[in-house]
């Protein structure tokens, strides 16, 4: 028999103990990506060429190159410039920076989806720039982006095994360690897959629900002529 149930059950607690690290890396990375994404989106939309051009180029570079090599760069090369970070910090920053370029695009599409008339009406009503952004544009551009951001949270969660490359002991590294102790990889890696599935599938379902809910609310608001 290939699969040993007793052995599989015996390693479950050890795998479960690695979940908090995986979740912490995901959430911290996501918060960082959300925070960095907004100024990045604003800079990319800016009319100042000296600001929009370099930010666009850097974001494009980060987005088109693999996370794992970026992580190697931060983890192995930055110390020679005097910047030393733990594997966890490096992982969070690497993950956050990588996905901030994706979230910037999400924000940008949200901002661009606000009809021109809203800007023009704000100007006609003599609203200040800050007032226009905070009370008119952002409240309308945030809700449609929420499901997309939820999707990226799940994508980042599934990307955390990459952090094992810089020695962070998350789920996959734990499974690999268990496997190398007993030379049984099948149970450990299968369980990791199942754990990922049972965590990401309900989240994806929730995001879909939210999407439908927001779409319905939007339609209702539109039909009430708001």
């Amino acid at each position: 028999m290939w699969w040993d149930w007793n052995y599989a059950w015996s390693i479950v607690p050890e795998l479960l103990r690695a979940i908090p690290i995986t979740l912490a890396a995901t959430l911290e990375g996501f918060v960082l990506a959300c925070l960095l994404g907004l100024p990045m989106a604003l800079a990319k939309r800016s009319q100042l060429r000296w600001l929009s051009w370099p930010v666009t180029a850097i974001a494009e570079f980060i987005r088109c190159t693999p996370l794992i090599i970026q992580l190697f760069f931060y983890y192995y090369a930055l110390p020679s410039f005097g910047i030393v970070m733990s594997a966890m910090t490096t992982g969070v920053i690497g993950l956050g920076l990588h996905y901030s370029t994706y979230l910037a695009e999400v924000y940008r599409s949200g901002i661009d989806s606000v009809p021109r008339g809203q800007w023009e009406a704000s100007r006609a009503l003599n609203f200040s720039r800050g007032h226009t952004w905070l009370r008119i544009v952002l409240p309308q551009s945030v809700p449609p982006t929420i499901p997309v951001m939820g999707n990226y949270l799940i994508v980042m969660f599934k990307e955390t095994p990459t952090l094992s490359a810089i020695t962070l002991v998350e789920l996959l590294t734990t499974a690999k360690n268990i496997g190398s102790q007993s030379f049984r990889y099948l149970e450990a890696f299968t369980l990791v897959g199942i754990l990922f599935l049972i965590m990401s599938y309900p989240s994806a379902w929730l995001v879909r629900k939210l999407e439908v809910h927001l779409g319905r609310r939007e339609r209702r608001a539109a039909s009430h002529g708001r």
Partner: protein, 212 residues
């Protein structure tokens, strides 16, 4: 510049994996995309399980599973085959969502009109539905193609001698210049990604010819 030649040597492995797994991903995307819309519940069920399993678990986990766990079931795959299968099946699952949503996005009137014109299912698909859906699929496929390219960097972790592997070897011999080596690796990936973007744009332009 002395680092570029060995890195490009490693890049060949990545490009080989990129090409073959892209073909596999395309095949799986269309099979599963049509499967999700099939008449028979069994077919819909099987494709749904395939898509959700490969989208719900992580690519690196799948890569490790193919390489380290399959031998326990007496299925021995080479690292190269494991890489191609994992990347192909993973991005095939993502691609099937693109195929499915674009097939559904073709207006229903097109199907109704072609039925009214007495077209058979294959003819209807080939001449009416797919050409319109294909144009909508291209941006989605383009994004996935870049993700797949980035995904090839993970094969280093299952012992393949790819660009990352070559870079790590170079690094251990020239530790003082490691930042330069990593920078070159990133630049090489960016150049390949940019070439792919241009290629995809060319296809998008070509698909748009003669259509308003």
């Amino acid at each position: 510049m002395q680092f570029v030649t060995p890195l490009l040597e490693g890049l060949k492995v990545n490009l080989e994996i990129l090409v073959v797994s892209t073909l596999l991903a395309f095949l799986m995307a269309f099979l599963a995309g049509f499967g999700r819309l099939a008449k028979y519940r069994v077919v819909r069920g099987i494709t749904l399980v395939y898509v959700e399993v490969f989208r719900g678990t992580s690519l690196l986990v799948q890569l490790f599973w193919m390489y380290f766990a399959l031998p326990a079931m007496h299925v021995n795959v080479s690292a190269m085959a494991a890489a191609i299968i994992a990347l192909g099946l993973n991005y095939g699952a993502y691609g099937s969502e693109v195929v499915r949503s674009c097939l559904l996005a073709v207006p229903k009137g097109q199907t109704e009109a072609s039925i009214a014109l007495n077209m058979t299912y294959p003819l209807r698909m080939r001449r009416i539905i797919l050409p319109q859906a294909w144009r909508m699929m291209l941006p989605g496929f383009g994004n996935l193609q870049i993700e797949l390219l980035k995904g090839t960097s993970l094969v280093y972790l299952i012992t393949l001698a790819d660009i990352t592997y070559k870079g790590m070897i170079l690094r251990s011999a020239n530790i003082s210049q490691q930042s330069l080596i990593f920078a070159w690796m990133l630049v090489i990936y960016f150049v390949v990604a940019y070439a792919l973007v241009l290629l995809i744009r060319y296809f998008e332009r070509r698909a748009a010819v003669g259509r308003g």
